[in-house]
Symmetry: C2
Subunit: 442 residues, 2 copies
């Protein structure tokens, strides 16, 4: 037996987009309608679903009678707007129109938030409505709310995480099967873990967008996409993964945002995305397949970890519904909920002035003195070697003897490593610089 | 460069209690005052700290001028009340007084919430104020907010977690060192991981209180302390832990709350706390020392895990500050924030009607036919054995030959296991039933 349904008038919900996530959002609203009404204190009524093509079949959960191509008219009728269409425009314009018309909005649009979130935040403040986007970072994993609210009384020092499921799936497959990047990618595409055009994932753009959102939330400052140093995984080879394993390390695509205080105590922010070697004993190393996991280090709370599904229709829809219930309940209760604050204006630290351990893989001439020359060049740039591994390479027809040298360094300035690599690159002894990977989490 | 401080009038904060957690709350408010003011949109002003003994020295962060023994007068002056005194009364009365006077309250008092949370929730609803208690469950780990808000649009099926740091520290130490329970407890007390009177922790009462709070939140129903089946770890022996290791399992004190649907689809709730064997490959098995970790299984979100420090002054204070910022911000913005809903009235499933795998350790007469008798008794009760291990016990002066039998069963009805144990207990061949532990997470 449950309590009777609340008699509050229904809240009018507009859904923009009816792809995989949109269909799951509509499925959950229909499936759990009664429970949601109890949790909200009012029923939700979907008044329209904006799509580009109303004729396309979208499965049983998408009511055709509600499809419309006039998104603008739809948002003006709504109390609550759910945006799952993606892309910058028309999403941006429609969300601003909704906000200006007094609707609270829920979006999963990480690209839009990363590029122009501030405009949306400020519009929401100005018009006294709620703007939620839990689904934009790490899908189903509650991360935005914990950072924005649970840790609002603490000081976050660092967020380090695996926030892109596609690349984690690929790197995990490469590590498990020894497959090359291209083959692992193809398999991921077959299984639906990677899109036909995987650029945004494999080049790190998706993770970079999430990093900029995480940095803005965690440090209460403005970090745009252009502030995030971004490197993808397309150049990670099975040789790199084998070398990592040999050193007891695992390669993961990491999003890292942190506070860095200089000698005078002035704080700046670093935000970066790149494939890095982490110890295989690190909790993030065991995050397999398309899962996401995020570590947060805060002054008082210490280390926190959040783990779960970072993508997929249902998990993403779960995060969106959570936001929808929150903003809907806020409507019923009156007022607006807490939002992120961006009072600080912290400088961004360029990647060049950071210090990191590095893994370098070089193809060199296999002759006396080469190893000494390489080591000499590194030490001349103040870079000290922690481990080194040399092996001869199979000789190709009519080529000189060649060897591969794998070097792990202790923490060194990025700028020193760059100049050392320039010198090595121009050295006759070095045939190729195969890989440059950072070492994190030690 | 930072934006100027907001010019909103200060919010008057009353702190009830100035123990470890209270002192850390006051330290963080002082330390991060300016940042908090920005996040809130108004400065926080601590107007008083209620204690029993104003003469006691409480360290540099507790301003003596603010100490008072008149808690009741203090709460009537406050906009926001932080309760960290613990215990049922006077905490309960003071929180109700605060709520009736229109103050929003933040509490870490799990015992009070488990025993009489409903009274507090309803008072907060009635008087339109916020009641937050993130710190009451799993300390610094954001759990209440994710369950209450992030997953509000989903359906949680099961929550399974390590929510008591003291018992996890003890079990972890026993597993690492082979120490007996008493020695591991004594060591934990030396190191401050266990209290002088460890009853509430080692008997599972603390975990049971958290389980009732988790169940109420996760299933939007009322689950009181009396509804939680509770067993502690005092009877867990180093022999049990060795036996678990032999079977590739680890013993953890688990809090488990779940929805159970019967054949007709009617849903009921199970809430229980007991030491259980889980596979050593289970993520919870690797949660060491005093850390907490909680798994949540939800229909759409899938599996989520939250990990962090479940106790300690600073981590608990971090959770309290997060709540304090949220309720303070809500004050500035107007209205009240979302709160848990308790519209459902779900029956509690008695432990007897559950099914579980079991580990049974028996001391028996070491003579032919005993093993057959034991196995026969179990199968007569519909309990099938997955693994069995028998070893002779060292013979004590003038006693009969004795052996120990360790048995892991497949899932069986709790009631069948109980009656089988009664039969075994009264059998001449069985000298003692040493241990009965459940097997979970398989």
């Amino acid at each position: 037996m449950t309590d009777p349904l609340p008699d509050h008038e229904p809240l009018r919900v507009a859904v923009l987009g009816a792809g995989t996530v949109g269909a799951d959002v509509l499925r959950l609203i229909r499936l759990n309608g009664e429970e949601l009404a109890h949790r909200i204190g009012a029923p939700l009524r979907v008044i329209g679903i904006a799509v580009q093509d109303v004729s396309k079949d979208r499965g049983e959960h998408v009511d055709h009678a509600l499809l419309t191509t006039d998104a603008s008219a739809l948002v003006r009728e709504a109390d609550l707007v759910v945006e799952v269409m993606g892309g910058i425009e028309p999403a941006r314009g429609l969300l601003l129109e909704a906000i200006e018309n007094g609707a609270s909005v829920v979006t999963a649009n990480k690209a839009l938030l990363a590029q122009d979130g501030v405009t949306l935040y400020e519009a929401a403040d100005e018009h006294g409505v709620d703007l939620h986007f839990e689904a934009a970072v790490a899908g189903a994993i509650p991360l935005v709310r914990p950072i924005r609210e649970s840790l609002a009384g603490d000081r976050i020092q660092r967020v380090l995480g695996i926030v892109n499921g596609t690349t984690n799936y690929i790197l995990d497959a490469m590590a498990r099967t020894g497959a090359a990047f291209e083959d692992a990618l193809a398999r991921a595409q077959e299984l639906g873990f990677a899109e036909a055009d995987p650029t945004a994932d494999v080049e790190g753009h998706d993770a970079a967008a999430k990093a900029s959102i995480l940095a803005s939330l965690a440090f209460h400052t403005r970090v745009g996409l252009q502030d995030v140093h971004c490197e993808g995984i397309t150049s990670v080879t099975s040789a790199d993964i084998a070398a990592a394993a040999r050193m007891g390390r695992t390669i993961k695509l990491l999003a890292i945002v942190e506070r860095i205080a200089d000698a005078e105590g002035t704080e700046r922010i670093s935000a970066r995305v790149y494939p890095a070697m982490i110890p295989s004993s690190h909790p993030l190393a065991s995050v397999g397949e398309a899962y996401n996991a995020v570590f947060i280090e805060a002054e008082a709370a210490g280390s926190l970890m959040f783990y779960g599904q970072g993508a997929g229709g249902a998990p993403t829809a779960s995060a969106i519904l959570g936001d929808l219930v929150t903003v809907a309940r806020q409507r019923v209760l009156g007022g607006v909920g807490p939002r992120e604050s961006r009072y600080a204006d912290l400088e961004i630290v360029g990647i060049g002035s950071l210090r990191n351990g590095f893994y370098l893989s070089l193809t060199v001439q296999d002759r006396p003195g080469v190893l000494a020359e390489v080591a000499g060049t590194l030490s001349a740039h103040g870079i000290s070697i922690s481990t080194i591994h040399q092996e001869p390479l199979p000789q190709a027809e009519g080529t000189e003897d060649r060897a591969r040298i794998g070097i792990a360094t202790y923490a060194a300035a990025e700028s020193s490593v760059d100049s050392a690599l320039d010198v090595l690159d121009s050295s006759g002894a070095v045939i190729a610089i195969d890989s440059v990977l950072r070492i994190e989490g030690e």
